[in-house]
């Protein structure tokens, strides 16, 4: 008995689907226009979501400057949303000095490497072959910065403690810069002139995935002590990079470093930290938080078109029910139940929506990735939004198809047979 019931259900579903397809095919123009409405509604959602995903990937790549399990400590927050007046609070904070950094190196037992960093100056580099464009960044670093920033050496060697302790005039070049400044062969051992002083090139970094147009690959690394001597340490606040051993000890490591710095900077118990501590993830999370309202607003606005499309569907389904009153009457007369009629029209509405939805999704992804093409970033396919978009389509079909289907199911068979 149970098996028989299943068979009828399956047959009913198949029958409804065929009838729906027939009805859609019978009124081509009408179906096409209804479809177009849903198509545009879904397109609007998917195109907006895809382009937001693309922009998000773009921002995340720009923000991901640190290696895995690494965090950065500095005086200033990395993202500032408070306007010019917010700066006052941060400006008054104690500067980070080399001594703070050395203290962390000495005491942070849970960290595998600790680097000290400062962005010194940007200018023109000169070698015996070429001159670079102005605006090459000069970063002061310690040996610990290399693992923390995910830098690996392609040629030569990294900075050593000796370089930092003796404030040697040596530098490590980023890949992109090395290629422009030394077009012929290895730069290791050669001289590089910046701000009028010669530095010996001791190494070259491996290229980072230069999807962003090379801005990540245009800098010079010198020992931080050399930088502080040359460009001045007065009114400078350094950053400290700390890499935890693994994910499990990351939280402990953060707490340890925080404790060390609070003691060193004499922050009274209970008072707020007088420094900012962030990682790639926390930075991205912060960015997401600040842009959440905008993203929700855009999502809502883009789904309004789907609502309008739903109303169009309801309208056309009502017409369709009225036109097919006799057909409904005949089906009821030869034994169709109310439920069968209801399913028939619901399936018709959903089929209409889904066909429009699928085309809309395809067009939306193409449209959204036009932005990816424009910004030269890898394209994104928001699978979750595709699923959600198609689900929304079915939902719209069900919500707006229910009333017409209900109306059809509750027609009096005798009256509807008589209907002209």
């Amino acid at each position: 008995m149970k098996q028989k019931h299943e068979i009828t259900l399956l047959t009913e579903a198949r029958e409804s689907l065929f009838m729906a397809l027939n009805a859609v095919a019978a009124h081509k123009l009408r179906s096409a226009l209804t479809l177009l409405g849903v198509l545009i509604g879904v397109f609007s959602i998917i195109v907006v979501m895809t382009s937001m995903r693309v922009l998000k990937t773009n921002v995340e790549t720009e923000m991901s400057q640190l290696g895995a399990n690494t965090f950065k400590v500095q005086k200033w927050p990395e993202l500032q949303f408070e306007g010019p007046m917010g700066w006052e609070k941060y400006r008054r904070r104690l500067n980070f000095t080399l001594a703070h950094g050395k203290l962390v190196i000495e005491k942070a037992t849970l960290a595998t490497s600790v680097g000290i960093e400062e962005d010194f100056w940007g200018g023109q580099m000169e070698t015996r072959f070429e001159k670079s464009a102005p605006g090459v960044r000069i970063l002061g670093e310690t040996p610990g910065s290399f693992p923390a920033k995910n830098w690996t050496i392609a040629d030569g060697r990294a900075l050593t403690d000796n370089d930092v302790d003796n404030a040697r005039d040596v530098c490590v070049l980023a890949d992109g810069l090395a290629r422009t400044l030394f077009p012929f062969g290895s730069p290791v051992g050669d001289k590089l002139k910046m701000d009028g002083i010669n530095y010996q090139v001791i190494g070259v970094l491996t290229a980072k995935g230069a999807t962003m147009g090379g801005s990540q690959d245009n800098f010079v690394i010198i020992p931080i002590s050399t930088g502080l001597n040359r460009f001045g340490s007065w009114k400078r606040s350094l950053s400290i990079l700390v890499q935890a051993r693994d994910k499990a000890s990351y939280e402990d490591c953060v707490e340890q470093v925080r404790g060390i710095l609070r003691v060193a900077r004499k922050v009274p118990p209970g008072a707020e930290d007088d420094f900012e501590l962030f990682s790639n993830d926390s930075l991205i999370a912060q960015f997401e938080k600040f842009t959440r309202a905008v993203r929700i607003g855009v999502a809502v606005i883009s789904s309004i078109a789907l609502l309008a499309a739903g109303i169009g569907i309801m309208n056309i389904m009502l017409v369709s029910v009225t036109e097919r009153t006799r057909e409904i009457g005949i089906r009821r007369a030869i034994g169709a139940k109310k439920r069968n009629i209801m399913t028939q029209f619901l399936v018709e509405a959903v089929v209409l929506c889904e066909v429009g939805g699928i085309i809309g999704v395809v067009l939306g992804i193409l449209g959204g990735n036009a932005i990816a093409f424009y910004f030269k970033v890898p394209p994104a396919i928001p699978f979750d939004w595709i699923a959600l978009g198609l689900a929304l389509c079915s939902l719209v079909g069900i919500i707006f198809g229910t009333y017409p289907a209900y109306k059809a199911a509750n027609l009096d068979p005798i009256e509807s047979l008589r209907y002209e």
């Binding site: 226009l33 177009l36 306007g83 007046m85 102005p134 609502l307 169009g312 056309i316």
Partner: protein, 409 residues
């Protein structure tokens, strides 16, 4: 039958048709209402953004030139670095300008920096302190609510006097009068001789009332002894703005002893540049916003077209009869166009009635008012949508063969 009668008849028929299918008409109208509401709200929001920018920017004055070492907006970082190597402007250069410009009504050197302002035990954090001359009152056009701006003698003699902004005044003196009080700016005593009028905030980001104005001689001795100054120059007449600008440029070149082949080593900024910059950003926002909201309007239009096609098909016989008794193609076309137009116009009116209270809510965040322009454009757009999407169905109705139409079941 003349045209007027035709239109009147068209209205009559379409009204009857709309009433005959109430649910259908309501749903079709609803589709349009949704579209018009979103587009109207978007338009109001963008206009509000523009207004808040314009009221913020108006304090700069359209006829004032801001000569400084660097331009307000640089196209790239390299350009900016280049401007940083230029010689700073000097006060002596501003003084020379005063004697040499004929097409300008005021020249004021302006130096600024943040400083701490104290009165007895109260203090105000980072106040924007401007060092300038009495001419600043003319170039900035700022009104004084209490007291007076310092005189030419006070400015030239570098007297320790100051004029403070509304926010500084209320921070330091609460409700009391600030006039004649002695406050400390960067630990040096100044007498308050005037209080500026309230100016509000710039785009709600930072307050323009948090400032203090002192003679530039005092600024140099107390705050910054070698300031990077800007020179504000007010043109004599708005009509000869270009001439004033050229005169200013040439005089500056002469004063700074540039060779004819040299490029300018200073920049002349104008309010105009700010406006252009803003327009570029606001233009993008408006384009994206109108595109997204326009899509829902488009969907509404499609709904109308669809329902008009149905309507035409249902009324084939009626059309046949009308044609048989002498209705022209034009009459039928007009009849259905009127019907579509009526539905849309009705939708537009309802949409405005819904959007109106919503803009009142929006006013809490933006100085947004639903202007007559936005309202009339919305109505016009809804009418156009009705006519455009109604055209194809109406055309089909008008082209029907009366014989076939009469025969149709």
């Amino acid at each position: 039958m003349n045209f007027i009668t035709e239109i009147r008849e068209g209205f009559g028929i379409s009204w009857a048709a709309i009433r005959a299918n109430k649910l259908r008409s309501i749903l079709t109208t609803l589709g349009i209402v949704i579209g018009i509401v979103t587009v109207t709200l978007m338009g109001t929001a963008i206009e509000g953004l523009n207004q808040s920018f314009m009221s913020s920017i108006s304090s700069l004055g359209a006829d004032v030139f801001f000569v400084s070492r660097d331009a307000w907006f640089n196209n790239n970082e390299g350009e900016w670095r280049k401007t940083q190597r230029r010689r700073p402007l000097k006060i002596a250069e501003a003084n020379k300008l005063i004697g040499q410009l004929e097409l300008s009504s005021a020249v004021a050197p302006v130096a600024q920096s943040g400083a701490r302002v104290e009165f007895e035990r109260r203090n105000s954090g980072r106040v924007q302190v401007l060092g300038t001359t009495e001419q600043y009152a003319i170039t900035s056009g700022i009104g004084i609510s209490e007291g007076h701006f310092f005189s030419a003698e006070e400015a030239a003699g570098g007297r320790p006097v100051c004029i403070i902004g509304m926010q500084v005044s209320s921070n330091l003196f609460g409700g009391g009068s600030a006039l004649g009080q002695r406050i400390k700016i960067s630990s040096k005593t100044f007498e308050v001789v005037g209080v500026l009028e309230k100016q509000g905030s710039f785009m709600g980001i930072f307050s323009m009332d948090n400032q203090a104005v002192i003679p530039i001689e005092q600024f140099i001795t107390t705050i910054w002894n070698n300031p990077d100054i800007a020179i504000h120059v007010k043109a004599r007449q708005l009509t000869e703005l270009e001439d004033s600008r050229e005169e200013l440029r040439h005089t500056m070149r002469k004063i700074r002893r540039l060779q004819p082949s040299d490029a300018d080593d200073f920049a002349i900024n104008q309010q105009e540049q700010f406006v252009q910059m803003f327009n570029r950003v606001a233009g993008t926002i408006a384009a994206v916003g109108f595109f997204i909201t326009g899509l829902s309007l488009f969907v509404g239009g499609i709904g109308i077209m669809n329902i008009m096609f149905v309507s035409v098909a249902e009324r084939t016989r009626e059309i046949g009869i009308r044609k048989a008794i002498g209705a022209k193609r034009r009459t039928i076309l007009l009849q259905f166009l009127t019907e579509a137009g009526c539905i849309c116009l009705l939708g537009g009116l309802i949409a405005l009635a819904i959007a109106w209270p919503l803009t009142l809510v929006m006013q809490k965040f933006l100085p947004a008012t639903m202007s007559l322009t936005v309202a009339s454009v919305a109505l016009l757009v809804s009418l156009v949508i009705g006519v455009v999407s109604g055209f194809l169905p109406a055309w089909r109705a008008a082209r029907m063969n009366p014989v076939d139409a009469l025969r149709s079941e």
